[in-house]
């Protein structure tokens, strides 16, 4: 099959070119149809490519010298967009030179540039950042928004639910992914007015390709009985980081505990396969690759500190969303929502 190539911002991330190119090469070892447009400093990209012969006939370099700084303000980066590796990777998607863009650079700048160049899809007011998180079950859970929008209204949240469900159908294969709104309690009266209104709209829109199951509290996100958690970008970012920080906290404590006595050290060595299993399950690199949903094009954010395996994962996420036509799916779901509204209005019997 011919998958559109993936534009990789080779300059973003804590480690820069070497990790980004290694990650792309690793992804290609797993899926030999992958092709890349590597955007950034040509000399450094060429040097990095020397270690990866499998990339030779699979990648083109788009040279550029400017890079978006990790702490640069999005508004500032935006002015230089078309001179930076990040901006050019996105432009490639816009002009059909690539099917998707992957960057490990400044999230705010990536969001701003993507929005400006690709525009939001018809029917979507704001894009949202969505990521996969591990659960106690086999499948992951998708949470959005993770920080693209500090404040959200009910309409935004409903759109996030639809986009998240479209993504979840691809990842889990479930026809009607179970969707919940993140809240501080499960009773209907809990939380902000925006949440209550979003819940009401989702309860009413029964024709959607999702099963709305009310609220979820932050301690139940990882239980494995839901596919999508919808929230505003502020709470989502707090929840995501709290979950990551707490997991690291517990594993740090565990390490200290194992070091606390000779007996524990021996026990640790023996039970190493178990702790390795845990380490693998929790390794953020295995869940790397957050997606900006709601744009006319696929843009994937790789974590700034991801290693080559993490970058390969982000590339695989981008490829999968291309293969499965995520953007078209969301468009179809939004049309469905529009039709539901028309039917409701036409019948004169709008749900309560």
């Amino acid at each position: 099959m011919s998958l559109p190539r993936i534009a990789v911002d080779a300059m973003g991330g804590d480690e820069g070119v070497r990790v980004m190119v290694s990650g792309a090469a690793l992804a290609r070892r797993r899926h030999d149809q992958f092709k890349f447009l590597l955007v950034g400093d040509e000399a450094r990209i060429k040097a990095a490519l020397e270690n990866h012969p499998n990339m030779r006939n699979a990648s083109e370099i788009l040279h550029c010298e400017d890079v978006v700084g990790g702490h640069e303000k999005p508004t500032q980066a935006l002015r230089r967009a078309k001179k930076t590796s990040m901006g050019l990777a996105i432009e490639a998607v816009k002009h059909g030179d690539a099917g998707a863009a992957v960057s490990a650079g400044n999230t705010g700048a990536l969001m701003a540039m993507s929005k400006l160049a690709l525009r939001t899809m018809p029917g979507i007011d704001r894009p949202a950042l969505a990521a996969l998180m591990p659960t106690l079950e086999e499948h992951d859970v998708i949470m959005l928004d993770l920080g693209a929008n500090t404040e959200c209204d009910a309409r935004n949240l409903v759109q996030f639910a639809i986009m998240g469900a479209a993504y979840a159908r691809i990842v889990t294969g479930r026809d009607k992914p179970r969707v919940r709104l993140l809240n501080i309690g499960t009773e209907e009266t809990k939380g902000t007015g925006e949440l209550q209104e979003a819940a009401q709209r989702l309860r009413d829109a029964t024709g959607l390709a999702l099963s709305f199951e009310g609220y979820v509290e932050a301690d139940k996100i990882n239980r494995g009985n839901i596919e999508v958690v919808v929230t505003d970008g502020f709470s989502g970012n707090i929840a995501l980081k709290a979950i990551e920080g707490s997991a690291r906290f517990v594993t740090d404590l565990l390490k200290d505990a194992f070091r606390s006595s000779l007996r524990s050290k021996i026990g640790f060595l023996i039970s190493r396969p178990a702790t390795e299993l845990l380490r693998h399950h929790l390794d953020p690199n295995n869940h790397n690759g957050a997606v900006f949903l709601g744009l006319n094009g696929v843009v994937v954010k790789s974590h700034g500190s991801a290693n080559a395996a993490g970058v390969a994962n982000a590339v695989a996420v981008a490829a999968r969303l291309l293969e499965e036509n995520l953007t078209e799916r969301i468009t179809a779901d939004l049309a469905e929502l529009g039709e539901i509204r028309l039917r409701e209005n036409g019948s004169g019997g709008a749900a309560k």
Copy 2:
């Protein structure tokens, strides 16, 4: 010394009377000066007391038949306040019959009743729920608000900072506890307008008995380098539950991993002292007892699912706050804030 007695709502919590009375008895085994007013069904309290001879001369029973339901709406519970064990425990504090109240019942109802009966302290607009959480270091970190106020303005957040710092001085003995605002990034431009304004006010108020150190992201709460995390009740509740849920998630995965092979099982048995250490460190019962700060009186919320050790911990929190005069400390700090404002206005040179 003569510590005022503690009113215990004997009816609240998942397990009810038996756990509440056992918890009080356990607390008294550790601190034999503790005295109690046990509020609830006399017959059941008496039955529970039979197992605890050390409570015989240390407790009085205040009989009442009505109980606040776990899922009852606060407004509904409020109407029956003075007939319920929860309401009567709070009334005892109001009338000086007890120094503090401890309840494991409905949080919303406890908040509403406490606010109505005890009123907020002069200078405080809204009380906040504060709890201790474990860190990588010896001392705990205090986070507030954990859900008493879904939405907060800058003024509320500044008051929470002052109250949290007063609590932290008691718990950590540090003269100027390090305080940070929970946000989704550490740059000054991050987050909501309320957060940015609260940060500005805290930076300006240099005379306070706290060291304001900017923002903290949710993955850094448990690192042990701060004493107080200030946030609105929605985000605080999300963060707290995400941390609890993630810790449980990791320990659940660890259990599964240890069970995955005979070798791992053996390793587990050998390293048991290490995993027990971890279990103890993470056991929520060891951190049980959230405090409503900003009221004219001490009210402590015990977790609904806390065991006797957890309840004993909540009782100990209440006793410590009485011993150390938390309410007076907060009053003094607020007076200090008032003086800072007067000085600033008087000098005509308000900080930028």
